[in-house]
């Protein structure tokens, strides 16, 4: 009997309706789920609800929220994983609070200095690049980046089936020695580390290319890269659509072409990536976009379930201990 994925019913801009809808759909697809929310949660149907009377708001201080709202959905979800009632947790709510809940209740995998948020970056025509840290740690130490490389490689292997993921250190030039002190120190450590296929420095423009599988950086830079790409792609798609609609003659041809673009659009649409994952905590924790619809939730639940089945956390534990 498989353990369910614990779904934070109250996290996200469209909670609880879209979240509950996503959970019900996942259940229909055969993935066991359990909701975490108020006892009188509407629309849950036959799904079990782990009661949680408090919600940590999107704009609340994460650490303070987790420590003072001990009956919040996020804390209860993380406790469910810790206590073996659930195999994973997913939330589209306050990202910092999701991390803090996971950290303070599930705990770190032994030996991990800091967990990192790993986010898939679409590579049209290729396999997604895993970018980490995408925002958990604003400032990092060089040793942590080596751990990010190890954890990111495990994730890339299990999520995208890449046997030997190529790891690049995000910097401002390809040549070794480029970048700030942190990058220079990290380069040396990564080059000498076991269990990592380190290909050297990569630049921002390589993140969406097929030349690297795992891109390692600090949380500040990673978050800037992520938001820049998201915004850039959105802007481009909008501009493309506007161009197609700008003249009647274009519209006619556009109708014929659009079907060719839909698969591409799905590739870059965050709704389909299955969310980001917090690597380095002792359990699977999926962090979904705040604007997640039920579709994004279903996809996130699928990823959570898959990573549990593939024993991703145990593999991370092994990789860290052998480093």
């Amino acid at each position: 009997m498989r353990l369910p994925v614990a779904v934070d019913a109250m996290g996200g801009d469209f909670a609880p309706d879209q979240i509950v809808a996503g959970a019900l759909e996942a259940d229909r697809l055969g993935i066991p789920v359990v909701l975490v929310g108020p006892e009188n949660l509407e629309g849950a149907g036959h799904l079990e609800v782990i009661p949680a009377s408090e919600v940590i708001a999107m704009d609340e201080d994460p650490a303070y929220g987790v420590r003072r709202k001990k009956d919040s959905t996020l804390v209860r979800a993380a406790e469910a994983v810790r206590d073996g009632r659930a195999c994973a947790m997913i939330s589209a709510g306050n990202t910092g609070a999701t991390m803090a809940s996971a950290l303070l209740r599930m705990g770190r995998v032994r030996g991990v200095n800091r967990p990192a948020i790993a986010t898939p970056i679409p590579v049209p025509g290729g396999t997604h690049t895993v970018l980490l840290d995408a925002g958990a740690n604003t400032e990092v130490q060089a040793e942590w980046l080596v751990q990010f490389a190890l954890m990111g490689s495990v994730y890339s292997r299990h999520r995208y089936g890449i046997a030997n993921p190529r790891v690049g250190l995000l910097s401002i030039g390809e040549e070794p020695g480029k970048g700030d002190t942190l990058r220079k120190d990290a380069f040396e450590l990564l080059a000498g580390a076991r269990g990592i296929d380190f290909i050297g420095n990569v630049e921002g423009r390589d993140v969406m290319s097929d030349s690297v599988d795992v891109v390692v950086t600090d949380g500040f830079t990673g978050n800037v890269v992520l938001k820049t790409l998201e915004g850039g792609m959105k802007t481009l798609v909008k501009a493309l659509m506007a161009a197609f609609a700008s003249k009647e003659e274009y519209k006619v041809h556009a109708d014929a072409l659009l079907p060719a673009l839909f698969p591409l659009y799905e590739t870059v649409d965050p709704e389909y990536t299955g969310g980001a994952i917090l690597l380095g905590v002792d359990g699977v924790c999926i962090i979904s976009h705040g604007s997640s619809s039920s579709r994004a939730i279903v996809n996130g639940i699928k990823v959570a379930s898959e990573m549990v089945e593939r024993n991703m956390v145990d593999e991370i534990r092994q990789a860290i201990s052998q480093a």
């Binding site: 303070y64 810790r82 206590d83 950290l103 303070l104 209740r105 705990g107 032994r110 800091r114 002792d282």
Partner: protein, 102 residues
């Protein structure tokens, strides 16, 4: 694992409190219990950073909430906890003021 509660039987005296703090530090910092003594500085001697301290106070709150009423360590208090002794004193002062459950 933070989930473990280190049940210390008997009264919550200063020695018992030290053991609770020490055992949490062993879990969080992944170090040997014999390497922890009261005089040690979290930052300089034990290499415990701000995250480890948050983990420590959260674990202490969870564990001690069962033994003594209303035990909280506010974030402002964290700045005053520089050594293991500071943490033990802080908890002990609360226990003396509010009593312990056993």
């Amino acid at each position: 694992m933070p989930a473990e509660t280190h049940v210390v039987d008997g009264p919550l005296d200063r020695q018992a409190i030290f053991h609770i703090v020490r055992d949490q530090l062993v879990d969080i910092l992944e170090i040997d219990p014999s390497s922890i003594s009261e005089g040690q500085s979290f930052k300089d001697d034990l290499n415990a950073d701000s995250l480890a301290l948050v983990e420590l106070v959260d674990a202490l709150e969870e564990e001690l909430s069962e033994r003594t009423v209303g035990f909280r360590i506010e974030d402002e208090d964290l700045a005053d906890l520089k050594t293991v002794r500071d943490a033990v004193d802080f908890v002990y002062a609360h226990v003396m003021a509010h009593g312990s459950g056993r």
